[in-house]
């Protein structure tokens, strides 16, 4: 379903980036990186309006001719970015939310690993499997 999934750290450095098609990896890195502009903007606005802080899902960040980019921010300012092909019109908002929730749960498991140092690049088979299943759409 998704073509690219990324986990971005608190200070906007990438912690994990996976793409369905590895030949376009660089392009997806750029896409994820530029989407952070919108994330930052949304976060700064949310900080001002002081609205519901429990809502982590940021919604559609940006859409281009080919892709739609969705965002999600945890309370510790870890960002999840999911890129979906724009041609995929059957995708509903709820399904995107589900993707993020699963991703968040998987990330929580990674952080709970005592051998993982927060801030490091994520290297975890389990996390990888979750990401792969999200990308293939087997939820």
């Amino acid at each position: 379903m998704a073509v690219c999934i990324a986990v971005i750290g608190k200070e906007n450095s990438p912690k994990y980036v996976a793409c369905l098609h590895s030949e376009n990896e660089l392009q997806f890195h750029y896409k994820v990186h530029t989407a952070l502009d919108v994330v930052e903007e949304k976060l700064s606005l949310a900080g001002k309006s002081n609205c519901d802080v429990r809502e982590l899902y940021l919604g559609l960040l940006h859409s281009t001719e080919e892709h739609k980019i969705f965002g999600y921010v945890t309370n510790t300012k870890i960002k999840f970015i999911v890129i979906v092909e724009a041609a995929n019109t059957t995708l509903r908002d709820n399904e995107v939310r589900t993707m993020f929730r699963r991703l968040h749960a998987a990330y929580t498991d990674v952080v709970c690993n005592p051998f993982y140092i927060p801030g490091d690049h994520i290297v975890s088979k389990k996390f990888e499997n979750v990401v792969k299943s999200i990308m293939s759409g087997n939820s």
């Binding site: 750290g9 608190k10 200070e11 906007n12 450095s13 990438p14 980036v17 990896e25 660089l26 890195h29 750029y30 990186h33 530029t34 952070l36 502009d37 919108v38 903007e41 960040l61 940006h62 001719e65 140092i117 927060p118 801030g119 490091d120």
Partner: protein, 1124 residues
């Protein structure tokens, strides 16, 4: 750029907001001054608030565009194209909606009739020139005289006559008086002209509509579009943007229905672009940006895939790029007019897309035009500027056939277009321009990362345009941003590209810097890449040519090689210094002082840690540390710590080595900071080119933007024995402090100090140094206190109690002190307030310093801090009591009272009171003549209390509490009786009231049963009036008495009356005395209530007396005690 301009640029007449055209004739600007004024008032200052009219000055014999012959039926008319190129210009520039004839004619002109005819003739000739057109005519009479209030009665008749002569509607006749308010008249005229023009356009639209109704949809689709476009444009001229939008939208949808083949694709797209532009523009002006964007989306969606002729695909991309570009411009203009844009929807995206299409255009051009080398003869593109219709091919204008008529001409035409595209268009500059505009938009809309990506793409374009220098500049700037956010994947891609640029431009400095970064851990490059880069770096060191980076165009390589050959041959620069602070390099380095404080007599130690992440072992020739102190800056060589190795500066992959360097600090720098400014790692041996890696240590707090928690780094597994480089904290400064003195300064004092006393501090100095010391002095200063900022005002110092006070800081000169000898000195401190004082005692002396050479002496110092807490020696609580020893809350004037100071000792040391005294206020006096201290010589331990009493009177009553005076105590610590301290305590204030009468009773201390005792009452009158009182003596069971039982007394002013009684006690013990009662004869005589008098008596008179039993066997009539 030729093709670009011809093919896709929008005609300017289309892009401007259409203005109604009004022709002005009858004005001679060149010769007539007033005419020129009128014309300037009309044509100048066309600000936005004035009517949208374009005035055109027409000569007397102006020819208008000829009218085409009217068709009776459109049935057989087959249009040859969609939109005529000249139609818009015709309506904007040539065919006026209103033609105004200006004519000089006053109502009272003597030749009115002749001029009337002249005017009619002129109008007739204009009418003739406009034959068949719907153009409105109007006449403005320029008059010299302004209209008078009453108005010329003949004017109306004359105007009517003129209208009749000219066959003019009276509503189209205007009068323009020349005079003061020309501009005002002109504005009113303008409005009238605009109304006329709108009427004209209204009719014109109806005319077009009537044509349209006759059209046949199957064969005349082009005409449908054309007519709808015309209606839209005329509506715009009429300033009816609502209908204009409607018509344009209809035209657009008609256009979409057209059949598109390769032959007419260009024409359809061109017209679609024009109409879409008009629609978007109107929507933006109507503040409907969402609709404008939706329209544009639909437009680009509809035409994105209609590429047209496959050999001219670049034309399609050029067209698309232009569409996006122009839409971006429109959007940008709308934002300047007040439309709100957001981060995810702003013109930058359109410019960016335009740039993308421009890139595609370039790519398809490269693909399709690579074999085009000659321009076909004869030029198939002649007449491209004079085509009748928009978007048609010059070699087959007006052709409607779906298949090209002449395949050869068609092929030539395509060849010509391809040739022009290849030779005439500077694609890169277009792309870079578009990126430039987009970048500025993204910056304005807070998209720093998108902007960065565009900059990288821009650099990419510079690269493909072979402007490697610019590409490198842009890329190196971008490296910094991506590095700071740790996007290593992106960084690596940019690094490789930048390295290519640096190679091609033979930029030695950049090449070395980029290589060092590319070899680092962060760069995610293949080992093969890293190996090549490493080898190239080594070649640079040996002044050899580096190998080219892969993927570079072969055309540039020879030139780059020449540049490198020249660079390697030249001795300049002998070394390359690379500032490593902004590079995520393969070699990292940290330096720290071993401690935050260094003593001047000991060497300062610096540890240097160097870590190499280079995939190959890397060798350095030197490691230097630059240290800066206020007096000097030095480079220090560092040596390996621990076991000596053969090659200490050879680093295997992922090793950390520790080096140590030391230096002896200068005495002049004592008290200042020493700083490690930089670490210098030299690469390359003598004679070769050297590369110096310079690591700055100043304010290197890179940990700030890091999201790696330093606390968590300890969990990182590191191989045992290896140093965890990341967890090393930099200590780049150390404070240079003097050597530790061996002078032993010991201080003795009996803390706590008592408030107000001279407190003795005893100092003993013992010279433990190796040499004799001289000029020893002690500086005693108060350390500023946080609680009491003005503590120095309440602290006194002296060297001797009998001597004078010494101001702070105090200096005690001691002199010389031989080895192992001792000296003692003492000083005194007096604290005037209760809080702890910290005294800094600094011993300074000169001593021989072996380090500085023979007979050289240097200053040494040793600091001691003395903490003195201060307590109160005693607390004095004074009570006032009446003569009956009842506590008093208030006193009465001229009545005696007792002041009793209770002194409670609080000092931990016993204190001796030497004397005490009262210092009384002027209106307070002692009853006794002299005061003898009752506390003299008393010794008080902690917690003990001493009290004494003194009888006082206050002479004056007062509303305010009366200041009684002070109580002074002279005291000392026990054992230090020679140092007497005098403390003063203020007695509490007392409220003093007035009483007119005072009664005192003179009574012996005791009486004996059945022995008469004499008492007397003395009644004082303190007033200046006569007081009559009734006196009565109540009987008592305990006494018999002789004297007045009841009496009326007259008290003279300010006098005393004494009444004597003889009491004969009957009972023993503490017995109640007979009660004396007084009452005023005349009630209210003294403004004194009767109760007050009773209270007065109760206060003044004793109630009881001790009566002793009679001694047995003693005669009853012994001596009668007589009151004194």
């Amino acid at each position: 750029m030729a093709v670009w301009n011809d093919g896709f640029d929008f005609p300017t007449e289309l892009c401007n907001k259409p203005q109604a055209l009004v022709g002005i004739s009858g004005i001679d600007v060149a010769k007539n001054v007033s005419d020129r004024e009128v014309w300037e008032a009309l044509s100048n200052n066309r600000a936005t608030n004035r009517a949208l009219i374009n005035f055109k000055l027409l000569g007397p014999q102006h020819g208008f565009p000829p009218m085409k012959p009217k068709r009776n039926t459109y049935d057989w008319y087959i249009p040859k194209g969609i939109l005529k190129r000249n139609w818009i210009i015709k309506h904007l520039q040539e065919l006026p909606a209103v033609n105004v004839l200006f004519f000089h004619l006053d109502w009272d002109d003597p030749n009115f009739a002749a001029k009337k005819l002249d005017c009619a003739n002129r109008l007739q000739s204009i009418r003739g020139a406009l034959k068949g057109r719907l153009t409105r005519l109007a006449v403005v009479l320029i008059q010299r005289t302004a209209p008078v209030a009453g108005e010329d009665p003949s004017a109306a008749d004359k105007a009517n006559a003129l209208c009749t002569a000219c066959e003019l509607n009276p509503k189209c006749l205007f009068v323009l008086p020349l005079g003061d308010h020309l501009q005002g008249y002109i504005l009113r005229l303008e409005k009238a002209f605009l109304e006329l023009a709108q009427g004209y356009y209204h009719h014109a639209i109806r005319a077009v509509k009537s044509h349209r109704d006759q059209l046949n949809k199957t064969t005349q689709q082009y005409l449908m579009v054309r007519h709808l476009f015309k209606i839209g444009f005329l509506s715009e001229l009429k300033q009816d943007s609502h209908n204009a939008h409607k018509s344009y939208a209809q035209a657009y949808s008609q256009l979409l229905d057209l059949r598109v083949a390769d032959t007419n694709a260009m024409e359809v797209k061109t017209v679609a672009g024009l109409i879409n532009y008009k629609i978007c523009r109107i929507l933006f002006f109507q503040s409907m940006p969402r609709d404008a964007i939706a329209q544009f989306r639909a437009h680009s969606e509809a035409f994105k895939n209609r590429e047209g002729h496959k050999d001219l695909v670049f034309e399609h991309y050029g067209w698309l790029a232009k569409q996006y570009w122009v839409f971006g411009d429109l959007f940008d203009e709308a934002i300047k007019q007040g439309v709100q844009a957001v981060q995810t929807q702003h013109p930058g995206f359109y410019y960016q897309q335009a740039a993308q299409f421009a890139i595609q255009r370039k790519q398809s051009c490269e693909l399709l035009c690579q074999n085009v080398t000659t321009y076909p003869e004869p030029d198939p593109l002649t007449g491209v500027d004079t085509l009748e219709f928009f978007g048609q091919r010059p070699w087959r204008p007006g052709s409607l056939s779906v298949e090209p008529i002449d395949p050869n001409r068609e092929r030539d035409g395509i060849l010509a277009l391809q040739f022009r595209e290849k030779i005439g268009v500077n694609h890169s500059s277009l792309i870079i321009t578009l990126f430039g505009i987009a970048i500025s938009q993204f910056k304005a809309f807070r998209c720093p990362r998108m902007r960065r990506q565009l900059l990288v793409q821009m650099a990419e374009e510079y690269f493909s345009a072979k402007d490697y220098g610019k590409a490198l500049t842009v890329l190196t700037h971008m490296l910094w941003d991506y590095r700071s956010e740790k996007w290593w994947r992106l960084l690596s891609a940019i690094l490789l590209r930048a390295l290519g640029c640096a190679y091609l431009t033979a930029g030695l400095q950049d090449y070395v810097t980029l290589s060092l970064e590319a070899l680092g851990d962060a760069a995610q490059l293949s080992l093969q890449d890293k190996t090549r880069i490493f080898q190239n770096l080594n070649k640079i060191l040996k002044r050899q040519l580096p190998d080219p980076e892969p993927g570079l165009s072969n055309i540039d390589l020879p030139h780059a090689k020449d540049l490198w050959t020249a660079s390697c041959a030249s001795a300049d620069p002998p070394f390359v210094t690379v500032d490593m602070s902004n590079v995520a390099s393969c070699v990292e380095s940290k330096a720290r002082f071993t401690s935050t404080q260094s003593h001047v007599d000991k060497p300062v130690l610096i540890e240097v840690f160097v870590k190499s992440a280079c995939p190959h072992s890397i060798k350095f020739s030197k490691l230097l540390v630059t240290v800066t102190t206020p007096s000097m800056s030095t480079e220090l060589p560092a040596s390996i710590m621990g076991a000596t190795e053969d090659d200490p500066l050879l680093f295997e992959t992922n090793t950390v080595k520790v080096f140590l360097c030391q230096f002896i600090p200068d005495h002049r720098d004592v008290g200042s900071e020493i700083q490690i400014t930089s670490i210098l790692l030299h690469m390359g041996s003598e004679g070769d080119r050297n590369i110096i890696l310079r690591y700055s240590c100043v304010s290197n707090e890179s940990g700030g933007a890091d999201d790696v928690c330093p606390e968590l780094q300890h969990f990182r597994p590191t191989p045992i024995k290896s140093i965890n480089f990341d967890s090393i904290r930099i200590q780049s400064t150390t404070h240079l402090v003097p050597r530790t003195s061996l002078l032993d300064v010991s201080i003795q004092h009996d803390t706590p100090a008592l408030l107000g006393e001279w407190y003795k501090v005893h100092i003993e100095m013992l010279n433990n140094e190796q040499y004799n010391i001289s000029s020893l002095s002690l500086d005693i200063a108060l350390i500023p206190s946080v609680d009491d900022p003005h503590q120095e005002l309440t602290t006194q110092l002296c060297k001797d109690v009998s001597g004078e006070l010494v101001s702070l800081p105090m200096q005690l000169l001691i002199g010389d002190l031989a080895v192992n000898s001792k000296k003692e000195v003492c000083f005194y401190v007096r604290a005037l307030r209760l809080n702890t004082r910290n005294l800094l005692i600094k011993a300074k002396y000169l001593m021989l310093d072996a380090a500085l050479g023979n007979n050289a002496e240097s200053w040494n110092a040793s600091d001691k801090v003395v903490t003195i807490s201060v307590v109160k020696p005693f607390d004095v609580l004074t009570k006032f009591v009446s003569l009956q020893l009842d506590p008093l809350t208030k006193g009465v004037a001229l009545e005696p009272l007792i002041a009793m100071p209770h002194t409670e000792c609080l000092s931990p040391w016993p204190i001796v009171i030497h004397n005490s005294s009262f210092e009384l206020a002027p209106n307070v006096s002692l009853v006794d003549e002299t005061f003898i201290s009752q506390l003299q010589g008393l010794e008080l331990q902690k917690g003990e209390m001493a009290a004494e009493a003194s009888v006082l009177t206050v002479s004056q009553p007062s509303d305010q509490p009366v200041h009684v005076g002070t109580y002074q105590l002279q005291w000392s610590r026990k054992g230090q009786e020679h140092m007497i301290t005098s403390s003063t305590v203020t007695l509490p204030t007392l409220r003093v009231e007035n009483a007119p009468i005072y009664v005192e009773m003179v009574l012996p201390a005791h009486g004996w049963v059945r022995t008469p005792m004499a008492v007397s009452y003395r009644i004082h009158n303190h007033t200046s009036r006569l007081i009559d009182v009734d006196l009565s003596m109540e009987a008592s069971d305990a006494f018999m008495f002789a004297g007045h039982k009841q009496l009326q007394l007259c008290l003279l002013p300010e006098s005393v009356r004494t009444l004597d009684y003889n009491l004969y006690p009957l009972l023993s013990g503490l017995v109640a005395l007979p009660r004396l009662c007084l009452s005023l004869v005349k009630e209210g005589q003294l403004e004194l209530p009767p109760a007050a008098l009773a209270e007065l008596l109760q206060r003044c008179l004793p109630t009881h007396v001790y009566v002793m039993p009679q001694a047995k066997g003693k005669s009853s009539n012994s001596q009668i005690p007589v009151p004194s």
